[in-house]
C-alpha cells in the first residue's frame, strides 16, 4: 500500500519523524518536502536502513518515494 504524505514547511526534524512513522505500517511511502535539509535527512535515513529511495525535484519541492 502506498502512503502519501505532504510534509512541506514543517520544521526539522518533523518530516523525518513522520516519514519514519509512516514506514512502520506501509510498504511504500511517498513524501513531499520543500527544504533541502529535510530531503537530505530522509535520504540519509533511507540509506541507513537499506531502503530504496527515489527523489525528484520540481520547483524547489522534493518528492521522495521509499520502498521497503
Amino acid at each position: 500500500m502506498l502512503k502519501t504524505l505532504d510534509l512541506r514547511g514543517l520544521s526539522c526534524p518533523i518530516p523525518l519523524i513522520q516519514t519514519k512513522n509512516a514506514l512502520e505500517n506501509a510498504a511504500e511511502v511517498q513524501v513531499t518536502v520543500d527544504e533541502p535539509v529535510a530531503k537530505e535527512n530522509i535520504l540519509k535515513f533511507a540509506k541507513a536502513r537499506n531502503l530504496q529511495a527515489q527523489c525528484s525535484v520540481n520547483d524547489g519541492e522534493y518528492t521522495i518515494t521509499i520502498h521497503k
Binding site: C12, K20, F45
Partner: protein, 356 residues
C-alpha cells in the same frame, strides 16, 4: 567527499576558534553563537553591561556566509510564518539558558577542548534537553507549516542578511549607533578582518554541512546518523591540538576563562538550550544560518535571542565567573516551565495524508 567537509568544517570551527583567541578574543571564546550575540545586544544597547559590548563580526560572518552560499547555489528561498512569536520566545529561552552556562553548545565543545571540564557538565545537560525535546516531538509537538514567500514578500527573506550587512558597516566605521566596550571581555577581540573571514568561512561551511549542535545528537538518536557528530569530534580535536600548541590548555573545573563551576546550573542552563533548540528546530548557530538563507522564523528566533540577552542581563540572571545567582536560577527554572508548556500546548493538527 563527505569526509572532506567533516574535516574542513571541524578545522575551521576548532582551530579557527583557537586562532581567534590567539588573535585577541577572550579565552575559549573564539566562536559562541550565544555570548557573541549577547555582545551584539550590548553594542545595540539592548543591555547595559559596559564590558559586554561589541558587534562580533564572527556572527555577522555566519549570517552572511550562509546567505552568500544559499544565494549562489539557488537554495535561497525566503520562507516563514510558522508561529514566529513562539520562536521568538524559544530564542529568548535559549540565550537565557546559555548565559547561565556561559556559552552555546559550540562553546561547550570549545571549552572542553581547552580543558574546562565544566563544558562536559553543560554538554551532558544539553543532551538531556534534546532528549526531552524529542519526547515532545514524538508526542505530536509542532509549530505548523511555514510558507515559501512569493512576489513582494520575497524581500523579507533578505532582512537578516541586510541587518548583518548594516551592522558590519557600522563596526567597520565605528559608527555612533553602536556601543564599544572600553574594557572587559567586550574590548577583547581579534582584528575585525580575521573575525569576519573566519565567520564567513564558518557560516558557509555550517550552511553546507547543515551543522546543528542539537541536530547531531538528534539525528543519532532518531536515525543513527553520525555525520554531524563526526564534525564535533573534529572540532574538539582541532581545538584541543591548537590549545596545546599555544599553551592555552588547562585541565580542571576551577579558574577557567569566562566560566563557573556550579555544576547543577551548568547542566540546567544547557538543558534549557537543548530543549528550546529542539522545539525551535535548531541550535543557536543553526538559527543564524537559517536566518541567513531567508528563513524568517529563524530570524525571529535570533531576534528573541537578542531580546533574551537583554532580559538576562537586565534581570541580573546571567552567570559569571563567580557563579549563578538566585535570579539566574529562577530564570532557568521558569524558562524550563515555559518551554515545557510550549511543548505541550503546540500540537497543531496538520493534515499530512494526501491520499492512500
Amino acid at each position: 567527499m563527505q569526509w572532506v567537509f567533516i574535516i574542513i568544517t571541524g578545522i575551521v570551527f576548532g582551530l579557527g576558534a583557537v586562532l581567534l583567541v590567539k588573535a585577541g578574543n577572550p579565552g575559549n571564546y573564539g566562536f559562541c553563537a550565544a555570548c557573541h550575540l549577547r555582545d551584539i545586544a550590548g553594542a545595540l544597547g539592548i543591555h547595559r553591561v559596559a564590558t559586554l559590548q561589541y558587534v562580533r563580526p564572527e556572527i555577522l560572518g555566519f549570517v552572511l556566509g550562509s546567505f552568500i552560499l544559499a544565494k549562489t547555489s539557488g537554495e535561497f528561498r525566503p520562507r516563514g510564518g510558522a508561529q514566529p512569536a513562539v520562536r521568538f520566545v524559544l530564542g529568548a529561552l535559549m540565550i537565557i539558558g546559555a548565559l547561565v552556562f556561559l556559552g552555546c553548545p559550540l562553546r561547550g565543545i570549545l571549552r572542553l577542548a581547552g580543558g574546562d571540564l565544566n563544558g562536559l557538565v553543560g554538554l551532558a545537560g544539553f543532551a538531556g534537553g534534546i532528549l526531552a525535546g524529542i519526547g515532545f516531538l514524538r508526542n505530536g509537538y509542532n509549530l505548523g507549516r511555514s510558507q515559501v514567500y512569493s512576489g513582494a514578500g520575497n524581500g523579507v527573506g533578505y532582512l537578516a542578511a541586510a541587518a548583518a550587512f548594516v551592522l558590519l558597516a557600522g563596526v567597520v566605521m565605528q559608527a555612533g549607533f553602536l556601543n564599544f566596550s572600553a574594557k572587559g571581555p567586550g574590548a577583547m577581540h581579534a582584528p575585525l578582518l580575521v573575525s569576519l573571514i573566519l565567520g564567513l568561512l564558518g557560516g558557509a561551511l555550517a550552511w553546507k554541512t547543515r551543522m546543528c549542535l542539537s541536530g547531531g545528537l538528534r539525528d543519532f538518536i532518531l536515525v543513527s546518523d553520525t555525520y554531524l557528530l563526526k564534525i564535533y569530534g573534529v572540532i574538539f580535536l582541532a581545538a584541543f591540538i591548537g590549545n596545546q600548541y599555544f599553551g592555552f590548555f588547562k585541565l580542571g573545573f576551577a579558574e577557567q576563562p569566562l566560566a563557573h563551576s556550579m555544576h547543577l546550573w551548568n547542566f540546567m542552563g544547557l538543558f534549557l538550550v537543548g530543549l528550546a533548540a529542539t522545539l525551535s528546530g535548531g541550535c543557536p548557530l543553526r538559527q543564524l544560518i537559517m536566518a541567513g538563507e531567508g528563513n524568517t522564523d529563524a530570524m525571529f528566533c535570533v531576534l528573541g535571542m537578542l531580546a533574551g540577552a537583554g532580559i538576562s542581563h537586565g534581570l541580573n540572571a546571567a552567570g559569571s565567573a563567580s557563579g549563578v545567582g538566585m535570579n539566574g536560577q529562577i530564570a532557568v527554572v521558569a524558562g524550563l516551565a515555559i518551554a515545557a508548556m510550549i511543548g505541550v500546548a503546540f500540537r497543531q493538527k496538520v493534515s499530512l495524508r494526501t491520499e492512500g
